[in-house]
C-alpha cells in the first residue's frame, strides 16, 4: 500500500499542543510548533494508563516505518467519546501529530481521519 508523509505544517502558535499529555509527564520532547501529517495502517492501540499509544505503520519510499503516537489517558479520552476499539488493527488512517524534536518516529497525537468513511477523531480543523 502506498503511504507517505503527506504534509509538514509549521504553526506559529502552540494551539495544537496536547494538554492532556501534561497529566503525567513533561511534553518537552515534542515540538508543538510543528504539525506532521502521516498516512498509514494501525498496527495496535495500547489502551492503558497513563497514556494511550497508537502504533501506525507508514510506508515511506517503499520502507515500512512504525510511528508511536501518544495520546491522553483512557480515562479522560473515554469521557470524550473514545473507546478501546476506536483504533483497530488494519485501520487506514491519516494522523496529525506534534513530532519529536529529535526527529525520531514518535509524536503527540492531535487528530485522525479514517480512510474507510472519512470520519475524524481528536482535533481535525
Amino acid at each position: 500500500m502506498k503511504s507517505l508523509i503527506s504534509a509538514l505544517l509549521v504553526t506559529t502558535a502552540a494551539v495544537l499542543a496536547v494538554p492532556a499529555l501534561l497529566a503525567h509527564h513533561s511534553a518537552s520532547m515534542f515540538d508543538d510548533t510543528k504539525v506532521l501529517e502521516l498516512t498509514g495502517v494501525v498496527r495496535e492501540m495500547q489502551w492503558a494508563n497513563p497514556h494511550i499509544w497508537i502504533q501506525v505503520v507508514v510506508t515511506d519510499n517503499g520502507a515500512k516505518k512504525e510511528w508511536s503516537l501518544e495520546g491522553g489517558s483512557p480515562n479522560s479520552l473515554s469521557r470524550r467519546g473514545w473507546r478501546s476499539t476506536t483504533f483497530k488493527p488494519g485501520d487506514v488512517v491519516t494522523v496529525r501529530l506534534n513530532p519529536m524534536k529529535d526527529g525520531t518516529l514518535a509524536g503527540a497525537f492531535i487528530g485522525a481521519r479514517f480512510a474507510s468513511d472519512g470520519h475524524t477523531i481528536g482535533r481535525w480543523d
Binding site: S26, A27, S68, D102
Partner: protein
C-alpha cells in the same frame, strides 16, 4: 394538640436518629453541603495562574514562571529549575508512577476530583495519580510534633464555617527529598510549608479552593492561590488510573523524560 406534639416528638426523634446514624456510618449529615459528583479543575496545571508569565503560559514550557513571594535563596532555586525546564531536564517525580503528587499540588491535577463529605472527615479523591487527601473534621487536632513525620499529603484537620471547609495541612515533605514539586514550571516549597485551605461550593457548578501558603524557609510572606473546579455532567464516571500499567515515559538519570518504543526501549536520540 396532644397529637401534634406527639408527631413533632416523633419527627425530632427520627431526625436525631438519622443524625446519629449518619455519624455512626460516616454518611453526610443534612447539615453539611452536598459536594457529590465529579469535578474537573478549570484551567491548565500552572499552580498560580494569577501571576504566571507569560500570561496563559503552560507548566513545562520554557521560560514560564509564577511569582510566589520567595526569599532570595528559594528564588535562586526556582530560577535553576526554570533553566532545567528550558533544557528538558527538570524531572517531574510523578512521571515514575510511584508516588503521589503531594499537597498542595494535589489540588492542581487534571482529570476528575471527588469530594466525599462525611460527619467525621472530608475525603478528596483525584482520579489522576491517584491521590487521596483526608481532612479530619471530627474535632481532632494535628498530632504532636514528635508524632509526625513528613509525608506527601501531610496531616490535615479542619472544621466547618457554614458551608465552607477550613483546614490546615502540615508535616509535608515539600522539596526536601526532591520528590514533591508544586508544578512543572519548577515551583517547589520546603518541608516547613503549612497551608490553610478554604474549600467551598461557589455555585451549583463550581467548587473553589483558596489556599494561603506559609513557608518560613522559602517565603517572605503568605502566598494566596485559588483553584476552581467545574462540575461534570450527571453520571460522569471516575476510573481506575494505574499509572505504571504502561508508562512509556520514564525519567533518565539526567532528569530527561524519555519516550519508549513499543518494544520498551528508548527511541530518543539522547539518553543520558
Amino acid at each position: 394538640m396532644r397529637f401534634i406534639a406527639a408527631v413533632a416528638v416523633a419527627i425530632l426523634c427520627g431526625l436525631a436518629a438519622t443524625v446519629a446514624s449518619a455519624q455512626e456510618t460516616g454518611a453526610r449529615p443534612a447539615t453539611l453541603p452536598d459536594w457529590s459528583g465529579a469535578w474537573l479543575m478549570q484551567g491548565p496545571t500552572v499552580f498560580d495562574a494569577a501571576t504566571v508569565q507569560p500570561k496563559n503560559g503552560r507548566a513545562g514550557e520554557p521560560d514560564v514562571r509564577e511569582f510566589p513571594p520567595y526569599n532570595a535563596e528559594w528564588e535562586a532555586i526556582y530560577k535553576k529549575h526554570i533553566e532545567l525546564v528550558k533544557h528538558g531536564t527538570f524531572p517531574d517525580p510523578i512521571s515514575t508512577c510511584g508516588t503521589p503528587h503531594g499537597f498542595p499540588r494535589v489540588m492542581n491535577v487534571p482529570d476528575v476530583y471527588e469530594f466525599a463529605v462525611t460527619a467525621q472527615q472530608v475525603v478528596i479523591v483525584t482520579e489522576n495519580g491517584p491521590n487521596i487527601l483526608r481532612v479530619y473534621t471530627d474535632g481532632r487536632t494535628h498530632p504532636a510534633p514528635e508524632d509526625l513525620w513528613p509525608t506527601y499529603n501531610g496531616s490535615s484537620v479542619g472544621h466547618w464555617e457554614g458551608d465552607t471547609l477550613v483546614f490546615t495541612t502540615i508535616a509535608l515533605k515539600g522539596f526536601s527529598g526532591k520528590d514533591v514539586i508544586v508544578d512543572r514550571t519548577g515551583l517547589v516549597l520546603s518541608d516547613v510549608s503549612r497551608v490553610t485551605t478554604r474549600l467551598r461550593k461557589v455555585d451549583d457548578m463550581t467548587m473553589e479552593a483558596r489556599m494561603v501558603i506559609e513557608d518560613a524557609k522559602a517565603l517572605t510572606a503568605p502566598w494566596s492561590v485559588a483553584k476552581r473546579y467545574r462540575k461534570q455532567p450527571p453520571g460522569t464516571w471516575a476510573w481506575d488510573y494505574a499509572c505504571a500499567e504502561n508508562n512509556r515515559n520514564p525519567i533518565s538519570g539526567s532528569g530527561r523524560t524519555l519516550t519508549l518504543g513499543p518494544d520498551g526501549k528508548p527511541i530518543d536520540k539522547v539518553v543520558d
